[in-house]
């Protein structure tokens, strides 16, 4: 009964053979204090019923802003020109009241950030009921019943009970399912998915893509799939449009564009998928870092009259041996304990177990001894935006470690070392008096690496150093890390959820899940013949979606 709703719009009748959604000469500009930004430069795109169109491109290519503009969701300083037709009817420039008859009802959109795209203050049920009440005119009871059906449809177990849950009580994957349920509430025939799986773990990503596919078949929806992941686009899309600098540089059937690209930029994008392998260090290479039965437990909450604290076993008796010149890749999904392991190894977090650095037990060291050892072991963090102080110049950031470890150094020789370190990571040393916000993500990550390198460490812990970067930028960082390892004889602990980068960089791999080591071994052995079921699942999720041909090419 919930499905029977007379359409008060006459668009269905006018449909004919027109594309579901047609953008013509769409142009988006933003007025900013630094002048005008021309984000989208007159692009044409069309989506047919039942079709999946992938819009791919790197950050800043304008792929998201194109769709935000089509939906009337641009920021206040955005201006849009051109035409957006839904089933032949112009919707660009409609007053918001008229637009709200189409947004959410005919064209729905889901977003990248499942953590923040739902209102944290309302229950799932209450948020699901809103579009149902708005577009389907359902009463409270009917909306509730329909909400249960929708949650079941998107594969949320025990939907009756889940209606009363708040977003923070759900996992990322579940929130994205709820988001999809909300988008589908009014049975739209266009779904715009803006990087819907980017923030999710690979196994969850595979499930969400499967879900979108089956829903598409069921409702004959057209899907616009915005992504930076070419593997995902090839796997999921019928047609692909490649965007760069606000323009479509190439468009065509997915199989053609992604295997026989006509445009240089597409070729460059394809070539920046991580490739290559790492040879293991010589047998007799000295051991630099060794851990036996490392164990980390977190205590959460507790206190006076509040009962015992909650215990979380983040790392459960994990051992490893890192040799000179070796790269150990630590992979696992969020919450697997891989970052905690990395931090515990260099004593940023206290854990139990035996850690030996260059043969010396770390546990027996006092503060001064620990500081001396720290110099040899540096860490680079994932977030190139958050991990550099915005109030310090690049020169100050890079030289800060020297001030601690070599306080006797005078300003001139410190300056010399800063210049050398910046040159080492191929950044122009003339930029050292600028502030981090003036640099791109990839440049910032180079600054972070320079900050670690200036102390001439022997071990680098790299905690997802490439995860926030575009593939082409990532490629540069991967090559930089390879070169630095060769030149300085560095050992890496490379922590990542990205299996293809880990494969390209490391010669030994450790797979973690729920704090425990699932499997470890030489990288190629593990990738070719994973022993543990979980590793198989992980690889299937990553490579099943990602490039099959590429796997064949290797």
């Amino acid at each position: 009964m919930a499905d029977e709703m007379p359409s008060d719009l006459d668009i269905d009748a006018a449909a004919g053979d027109a594309p579901l959604l047609e953008l013509t000469g769409l142009d988006v500009r933003f007025d900013t204090p630094d002048g005008e930004i021309h984000a989208v430069r007159g692009i044409d795109l069309a989506l047919n019923p039942g079709e999946t169109l992938a819009v791919v491109g790197e950050s800043g290519s304008g792929k998201s802003q194109t769709m935000m503009a089509a939906m009337g969701l641009l920021a206040r300083n955005g201006r849009v020109a051109g035409s957006v037709r839904y089933r032949g009817r112009e919707i660009l420039g409609l007053p918001s009241r008229a637009l709200d008859e189409i947004r959410g009802a005919r064209i729905a959109m889901i977003f990248q950030e499942p953590m923040t795209s739902l209102d944290p203050l309302y229950t799932i049920g209450s948020q699901l009921a809103e579009p149902l009440a708005r577009h389907k005119r359902l009463g409270a009871r009917a909306a509730r019943e329909r909400a249960v059906e929708l949650l079941a449809l998107v594969g949320i177990p025990d939907p009756e009970r889940r209606l009363r849950a708040y977003p923070h009580e759900l996992s990322g994957g579940q929130r994205q399912r709820v988001m999809i349920a909300m988008a589908l509430a009014a049975e739209p025939d266009v779904l715009i998915a803006d990087e819907p799986t980017t923030a999710l773990d690979v196994t969850v990503q595979a499930q969400i893509i499967e879900l979108l596919r089956s829903l598409q078949r069921r409702f004959r929806m057209g899907i616009v799939f915005i992504t930076h992941d070419l593997g995902l686009a090839r796997h999921f899309a019928d047609r692909v449009a490649v965007m760069r600098y606000g323009q479509v540089v190439e468009e065509g059937p997915a199989s053609q564009v992604l295997s026989r690209p006509a445009h240089d930029y597409t070729r460059m994008l394809l070539a920046s998928e991580p490739s290559g392998t790492k040879a293991p260090p010589p047998e007799d290479a000295p051991v630099v870092l060794e851990a036996q039965g490392l164990d980390v437990t977190f205590h959460i909450g507790g206190g006076w009259l509040a009962g015992p604290p909650l215990e979380i076993h983040a790392v459960d008796r994990v051992s490893l041996t890192l040799k000179r010149g070796q790269t150990i890749g630590i992979v696992g999904e969020s919450g697997s304990g891989k970052s905690t392991l990395g931090r515990a190894l260099i004593r940023l977090i206290d854990g139990k177990g035996d850690i030996r650095l260059f043969g010396r037990p770390v546990g027996e060291l006092d503060a001064a001894g620990l500081r001396a050892l720290r110099r040899q072991v540096q860490i680079v963090f994932q977030d190139p935006y958050g991990s550099l102080s915005p109030r310090m110049t690049v020169g100050e950031i890079v030289s800060e470690g020297l001030r601690v470890h070599e306080p006797e150094l005078d300003a001139r020789s410190r300056e010399r070392q800063v210049i050398a370190a910046l040159e080492d990571v191929t950044l122009d040393p003339a930029l050292r008096n600028r502030y981090p916000h003036e640099f791109s993500g990839g440049q910032r990550q180079r600054i972070a690496i320079a900050r670690a390198l200036i102390l001439k460490p022997r071990v680098l812990v790299l905690d997802e150093p490439t995860s926030a970067l575009d593939r082409s930028v990532q490629k540069g960082i991967v090559e930089l890390l390879r070169r630095l390892q060769r030149e300085h004889g560095l050992s890496y602990l490379f922590i990542s959820h990205d299996l293809s980068v880990v494969r390209a960089l490391s010669d030994w791999i450790m797979v973690m899940r729920r704090g425990q080591l699932v499997e470890a071994g030489p990288t190629e052995d593990v990738y070719e013949a994973p022993a543990a079921a979980y590793t198989r699942e992980l690889i299937a999720a990553a490579y099943g979606l990602s490039d099959r041909e590429q796997a064949g090419r290797r």
Binding site: L73, E101, F111, E113, T116, D119, P120, Y166, A183
Partner: protein, 307 residues
């Protein structure tokens, strides 16, 4: 939840004890005493007075006596207003101050919020600039300027309202004091609300609501406003405690028989018991309103849990 409230109330006891102890001794460190200012008081009379009020006993003795009295709900006599006990003074004055303070608080929260929301929705347009200008004026012009101006214009020139006095709590007598109390608060609440709403409207889930075609009302009120309430609530708690316990300036200018004047007068006159009584009353208000703020937080934001 009940366990949490109980725990909070239990932890309030040592807090209060600390405040009482500290104020008691700090007050005695100040030179002079309740009877040292009165001229022509012969030493015998002064000694007599001090004996009556047990001010001749050793300090620790006086402290323990005061604590014992306090535990029995006895705030002691006022030294400078000898016909009244401290409790009497509060019984008469507190309702007056609370009435004025509560009216000002409600006015500030409602009007300030509305202005703030309007400004946020019209960000960087005329309406926004008007609100921001008003807010700046409201929080920079001192009460002791606004109150006499009000009297000059509306009471003396236009003769619409009485100049001062409580008038047994007549509505027309309350307008001036309430407005004077509320004005700076309106300004602060409007500014807070404007910032909170602008922040809230930028959230990703607001974009979701817009993309779902939920429209203005749902977006602004249901999703943005509820989130924007949190900073207002945390400001309103301490502000309520301050407003409800009276204002020296407003009560003096408008000759209001509230408790706001007691604190300053009593401190100047070394009216020990009255100062202590005021400290205890204000401390209780602050503790209670902070608790209320935390409970409201949990009500508005389901992520906040106390157990």
């Amino acid at each position: 939840m009940i366990r949490y409230v109980l725990r909070r109330l239990l932890t309030a006891i040592p807090t209060l004890f600390l405040i009482v102890t500290l104020s008691f001794f700090l007050l005695r460190v100040a030179p002079g005493g309740p009877f040292s200012q009165e001229r022509g008081l012969s030493p015998e009379v002064k000694a007599n007075l001090e004996r009556v009020y047990q001010l001749d006993a050793p300090l620790w003795r006086q402290y323990l006596n005061y604590l014992a009295d306090l535990l029995h709900g006895n705030f002691g006599p006022s030294y400078n207003l000898p016909d009244f006990t401290v409790a009497d003074l509060f019984r008469v004055g507190l309702p007056v101050s609370v009435q004025l303070g509560a009216s000002a608080l409600i006015l500030a929260l409602v009007l300030g919020s509305v202005l703030g929301i309007v400004a946020a929705l019209r960000q960087n347009r005329a309406g926004d600039y008007a609100v921001v200008a008003l807010a700046t004026a409201g929080s920079t012009i001192p009460t002791f300027v606004i109150a006499p101006l009000y009297q000059l214009v509306f009471a003396l020139t236009l003769a619409w309202v009485p100049v001062a006095g409580w008038g047994g709590g007549a509505f027309i007598n309350k307008i001036g004091p309430v407005l004077t109390l509320a004005l700076p608060q309106i300004a602060i609440v409007a500014r807070l609300m404007r910032g909170a709403m602008i922040e809230a409207l930028r959230a990703n889930h607001i974009r979701t609501a817009r993309a779902l075609g939920l429209g203005g009302w749902s977006v602004v009120v249901r999703h943005a406003l509820r989130g924007a309430l949190l900073p207002i609530i945390s400001y309103a708690g301490p502000a309520a405690a301050a407003l409800l316990t009276g204002s020296v300036v407003v009560e003096t200018v408008f000759a209001i028989p509230g408790v706001g004047r007691y604190f300053v007068d009593a401190a100047l006159n070394r009216d020990y018991t009255l100062v202590m009584g005021t400290v205890v009353v204000i401390a209780v208000f602050v503790i209670v309103f902070n608790l209320i703020v935390d409970l409201l937080y949990a009500l508005v934001d389901p992520r906040v849990r106390y157990d």
